[in-house]
């Protein structure tokens, strides 16, 4: 469980607070999505979970952040690393090895995972992300999307209870993005992992996450189930975040009096809606 209590943070070198007045709880086994404009504080929020704030970035830290009951100010990052695995936004600079296999081994070796268990997990993440053929490649020779998969594999291999990902699909094509979210859903549902993912693609978030956080200027301005965004369209418009087009379509059809059901959130629901409207119109 993760608990924020009236938490605020200001980077040492800056005037404004990067995060302000955050109070919330994330239960074990939650699947949380975070969206917001550039500079809203999404990455900063993820840093607090792995203890990078306050241990790596200096600044003013107010309130408290507790992960599994441990105050992140009091315990070292390597202690937190036993529960929290974080895939960072900047793919290149988080790499610590020159070869794909070494990158995936790194965390497991550090934690002293037993020898045969390492081999098993290595195979499992290589297959899970479909990167077995990259195993012996130099990381510098990979494409952005391939590197992103390696970075995710390296964290999943550590088998953390809480998986934090900062824009994990930024370099990926739509098919691979869906693959990543399918993996996250499986880890969440089958293995009870807590998943916290920063993502710009609203459609993916609506489809996969249970809880959506919208951030703006260091604050959480919306916190609720993704279905609730239907009522929040003005807020999203204000922030310049696109709502899924199917939501817009549903609202327009409702406003025009052609549709009376629930506003659709994904393509399947949208298809049903359109069929209904067409049937009503006698087409």
């Amino acid at each position: 469980m993760i608990q924020f209590e009236d938490f605020s943070f200001r980077y040492k070198s800056s005037e404004a607070f990067a995060l302000q007045g955050i109070s919330m709880t994330i239960e074990n086994g939650a699947f949380v999505g975070i969206i917001g404009n550039s500079g809203a504080g999404k990455s900063t929020l993820t840093y607090t979970l792995s203890g990078i704030i306050p241990h790596h970035f200096d600044g003013d830290f107010y309130g408290s952040v507790k992960v599994n009951g441990l105050d992140t100010v009091e315990v070292k990052p390597e202690k937190l690393a036993q529960f929290v695995g974080e895939v960072f936004q900047d793919i290149d600079s988080q790499m610590v090895s020159s070869i794909v296999e070494d990158e995936i081994l790194f965390g497991m070796e550090n934690f002293g995972v037993p020898h045969d268990e390492i081999g098993r997990r290595l195979d499992s993440v290589l297959d899970m992300l479909g990167i077995r053929d990259l195993k012996d490649r130099q990381i510098s020779s990979l494409s952005g999307g391939q590197k992103q998969k390696v970075a995710i594999a390296a964290i999943l291999a550590m088998d953390p209870e809480i998986i934090v990902l900062d824009e994990p699909t930024g370099e990926l094509d739509p098919a691979s993005s869906i693959m990543i979210f399918d993996i996250l859903r499986r880890l969440n549902r089958e293995f009870g992992k807590t998943v916290i993912v920063v993502e710009q693609k609203i459609m993916l978030l609506c489809e996969y996450v249970d809880r959506l956080l919208v951030m703006d200027a260091g604050k959480i301005v919306f916190d609720g189930r993704s279905e609730e965004i239907v009522q929040q369209v003005p807020l999203f418009k204000n922030l310049g975040i696109n709502v899924p087009r199917v939501v817009e379509l549903g609202q327009q059809l409702t406003a025009a009096g052609l549709y009376h059901g629930a506003i659709p959130l994904d393509l399947d629901q949208a298809e049903k809606m359109v069929k209904e409207v067409l049937a009503d119109a006698g087409v």
Binding site: S50, G51, I52, H55, H56, K76, P77, E78, L80, A81, Q82, V84, G85, E86, F88, D90, D92, S93, Q94, M95, V96, S97, S98, I99, D102, L105, F106, G107, M108, E109, N110, F111, G112, H115, I118, G119, S140, A154, I155, M158
Partner: protein
């Protein structure tokens, strides 16, 4: 092509334990340094080339030798002008340009440089940096921290150069002339690029350290390495042969 780049392969040289490779290269260099005979030095260069051909690294070894010849040539000229033993060979007026002793010691020195550098550079062609460091941690119990610093430094060299070329291209696109022959002008153009480059590299190193930290870097012990790097019979043979080589070059 980068001369220090790893070249994948399955040869008997590739398969040696990384620690053995390092020790063998060291012993080979000792053999080159203790010998005072130009013929032994030439023999050692030739032997190295033959070994490389059998390991499928012939092309690489030849191109390395070609590059080393330039270095050897430069050392030859320097040595020629500074060593003054023996009888004068070339005189302009009363000024002696070089002597017999100079020619001999210059030849010996440049051959020795080529003979020692060749195996050192080939070490990188047949060994991944991570394997070298991994084996030193596992077998020689070097602290992992140092091994990690070395591998990281090596990892950053290509990143650094590619970033440098990016900046250079950007400057060229803005009309800055880099193709100048004038070395001072070139230095004047490059120096302003180094500072932003260093800043961005430092940032990258810092982010890498952060990533290593949250992945349990500080918990690492010697025993936690996944790969074992065991020694095999071939490793013993290899070391024995290089020791024999030292004895031969000391006797000749």
């Amino acid at each position: 092509m980068n001369l220090l780049q790893y070249q994948p392969g399955e040869s008997f040289l590739h398969k040696l334990n990384p620690v053995t490779k390092l020790l063998a290269v060291f012993l080979y260099c000792v053999a080159c340094i203790i010998s005072d005979s130009i013929f032994v030095e030439l023999g050692l260069i030739f032997l190295m080339l033959i070994i490389c051909f059998f390991a499928g690294l012939g092309k690489r070894a030849l191109s390395l030798t070609k590059n080393l010849l330039i270095l050897g040539g430069m050392m030859f000229i320097l040595q020629l002008l500074f060593v003054r033993t023996g009888t004068p060979l070339l005189k302009i007026g009363s000024l002696c340009i070089f002597t017999t002793g100079g020619v001999f010691s210059a030849l010996l020195l440049s051959c020795r440089i080529i003979a020692t550098m060749l195996p050192m550079m080939l070490l990188f062609a047949i060994t991944q940096m991570t394997d070298l460091c991994g084996a030193m941690v596992k077998r020689l119990h070097i602290p992992y921290r140092y091994a990690f610093i070395v591998t990281t430094a090596f990892r950053f060299v290509p990143l650094f150069t590619s970033e440098f070329h990016d900046i250079e291209d950007a400057q060229k696109a803005r009309g800055v002339e880099y193709d100048t022959k004038n070395i001072f002008k070139k230095i004047g153009l490059v120096v302003p690029l180094v500072v932003p480059l260093l800043m961005s590299s430092l940032k990258k190193v810092d982010a890498g350290a952060m990533s290593a930290e949250v992945r349990g870097f500080n918990l690492r012990t010697v025993r936690s390495g996944y790969r074992d790097y065991p020694f095999a019979a071939g490793d013993g043979v290899c070391i024995a042969l290089t020791v024999v080589l030292i004895i031969i070059s000391a006797l000749l």
